[in-house]
Symmetry: C2
Subunit: 427 residues, 2 copies
């Protein structure tokens, strides 16, 4: 049964945007025009600032500091309706989106911005033992795991068990893995030692395990080497050129080497969401939808795919990276394109990704920044990283809150978001 998202007399051009992340949000911001109405569908009620998610997972920030209710963000847009729901499929022939409760929503134009999820390279059983970091729930679960590990080590009597609880393995030395490992080492070696009486948290082992030959392989060789040295100074054990072959509840296996370990965090692979499957579009190896130069689906000019779930080549032919600025650029491009199309304007030139730079933090006081010709490392890079991220947060409230959290952490050396809560019904 068709679900009227507004009275049947509403003849405006209906754009349905699936996904309230960076791509979807920017698309809606850039898409305005008389005669257009928009429905935003997301399976969660909030927009998440993923670049800072690792800080929620490692007790520096609270979840509410990096997420905003979508409904609230668009309260002043009369033309935008927000729906909390899960899309299960798309029928391009009838121009309908299917929702999990059985309802359907008709669209005139569809924008799929559903992002990416973790890939365990076929070893889906590892997910139980090695959670990834994509959502607020992930961050809370990882934070709980990390803090419980120290608690369990404090309570354990068997020295081998104590050490297993104090052994952490982060898999994947991209920005997420590097940032997580750095902060866990900081917790173990700087913040927590004074708080435990039966364990010496300095003896925690924080391993960063990477199958490839470098940490942060997307950065220059010089920055990559600097990052590795910084991590080692922080107390991270960097293990390169070593694929993980097995992950169990109590150990990580790398070929012939077994390490007893109770806390494993996955930061090693992503795959696209199901968007390409929904519309039967051609896909690349990571499941991303291959799109036309204007980001529409070949043969379906009314359907667009943007962000991490789209395979878009950059000027050199390499795939545009799955990062927030890329998603925003695509969202902006498509938003303007749709508005222009509706107003009868000419089709714009093809989408061209503009890479502004990459940054990654190394512990609490250092970062690297690669702006192409200009690279920075150390304390200056960290300050620039901080300013940039605060700038891109949404709203003054969050900017003040995050700035305060960071200032507090800087001045007192303490992390402020260390509460363990457990879902009701467990323990």
């Amino acid at each position: 049964m068709i679900h009227p998202s507004s009275p049947a007399t509403d003849m405006r051009h209906h754009v349905v945007v699936v996904g309230g992340g960076f791509g979807g949000l920017q698309c809606i911001k850039s898409l305005r025009g008389p005669g257009i109405r928009i429905t935003l569908i997301d399976q969660r009620n909030h927009h998440l600032f993923q670049p800072l998610l690792y800080q929620a997972a490692t007790t520096i920030l609270a979840p509410s500091e990096i997420a905003w209710p979508l409904r609230q963000l668009f309260r002043d847009r009369e033309d935008v309706t927000t729906l909390l729901s899960t899309v299960t499929g798309v029928e391009p022939a009838t121009r309908q989106v299917a929702l999990e409760d059985g309802e359907r929503i008709s669209y005139d134009t569809l924008v799929l911005a559903t992002g990416a999820r973790h890939s365990y390279f076929g070893n889906d059983g590892w997910e139980l033992h090695a959670p990834g970091l994509k959502t607020l729930e992930d961050a809370t679960a990882i934070r709980r795991k990390i803090l419980f590990a120290f608690e369990a080590a404090e309570a354990a009597r068997d020295p081998a068990l104590k050490q297993a609880h104090l052994t952490f393995a982060v898999i994947g030395a991209g920005p997420t893995g590097v940032e997580m490992a750095g902060i866990i080492a900081d917790l173990a070696h700087r913040i927590l030692p004074r708080e435990f009486r039966r364990i010496d948290t300095h003896r925690a082992r924080v391993m960063l395990i990477e199958a490839g030959p470098k940490v942060l392989s997307a950065f220059s060789e010089d920055l990559s080497d600097y990052a590795r040295a910084s991590l080692e100074r922080l107390g991270v054990e960097v293990v390169l050129g070593t694929p993980v072959t097995q992950i169990d509840a109590d150990r990580v296996v790398m070929g012939d080497t077994q390490v007893p370990c109770r806390t494993v965090i996955w930061a090693a692979g992503v795959q696209a969401s199901s968007a390409a499957e929904w519309i039967g579009a051609p896909r690349d190896g990571a499941g991303r939808a291959e799109v036309a130069p204007d980001l529409s689906v070949p043969g379906r000019p009314e359907i667009f795919v943007i962000g991490d779930t789209a395979a878009v080549p950059d000027a050199s032919g390499a795939p545009v990276p799955g990062i927030a600025p890329a998603a925003k650029q695509m969202g902006d491009y498509v938003g303007r394109l749709i508005a222009g199309r509706h107003a009868g304007a000419e089709a714009p030139p093809p989408f061209r990704y503009k890479h502004l730079g990459s940054m990654a933090t190394l512990g609490r006081r250092a970062a690297i920044a690669d702006f192409g010709k200009v690279t920075l490392k150390g304390r200056l890079a960290w300050w620039i990283w901080g300013v940039a991220h605060i700038f891109f947060l949404i709203g003054t409230r969050s900017r003040i809150s995050v700035a305060l959290s960071w200032l507090w952490s800087f001045v007192t050396g303490q992390n402020s978001a260390r509460i363990i809560t457990t879902p009701k019904g467990s323990r």
Copy 2:
């Protein structure tokens, strides 16, 4: 097997405190002395500021603003060991505390400060549909329920179902119930109307149902009447003299009246924790342990019971209320008593509770305060309430954060903690 909480050569007098709430914390703060060591056991890793818990449940504050890791609070007390564990029983004969993992901890002196939990007056099946508000997990679950109710109403097509989702019932017109009802009404009538397109949140029905004849029966008649009028002005439907007879997933029943309702919150009854059962002490009707004038267990001078889980008569013979100041006074008394006893001092006079006053908020801008001879209502009472609660928070970080949250809410009219997260594995 006996669990050494420190090397067998440690001959200090060992005080075990069970419960890191207001009572337990104050006891430890007041209990210092050479030759004494303390072990604090709590089933959670944090101390919770319960008076502001309703604000975490109604999107004003984030959980991390009102809770502090116990371990962090005592990092500078070398004499205090913190254990995250659940106590399952006490063996007074052998002076041991039993933990859920099978371990035991020996004590020389024991302080039970385990607080209270909800009572459904024998109707335990109601708990599933009508959660109470005692822990951070409760607050997050209630917040999720409230926000989902509006989302579900927006998505529903059947008008009766829409209205059921927009009907909220808070059971119990004590301070918690009154405070919750006031803020839910504020959400429905002031904050959310602009954010929904298919429902008129003004049509939400917020019921406060009380079996007794008054709201806030612990306050004077004048303040109670004022509170009722304030709530009604806020849009709360105050239903007095009406016991609830049944609560299901989709309705609340009061005698012959059935109200279709999808969100029910329980604030109507508490009972003590199991402390009295653990030690075989005499109990009152609410399960609280009846203690001697010095708060020790009759016949067991080395065991003390304090806070909500103790039955202590005040000067008039009425039971001391289960509020934070009472727990703190008892904790302070017992802490000093134990320290004094160990130093060979004389036994102090019996514990005497000093009632400083009661306060309750009514929506976002008003409160009532009853200091006995002096009573206040309205905006002034609300400012005093605010200042008092900020003062009693722990640590500058929280004071700044909460003050900022309230200031923001005051200036912008927006609540900032509206993120819905779902435990992993569900939906």
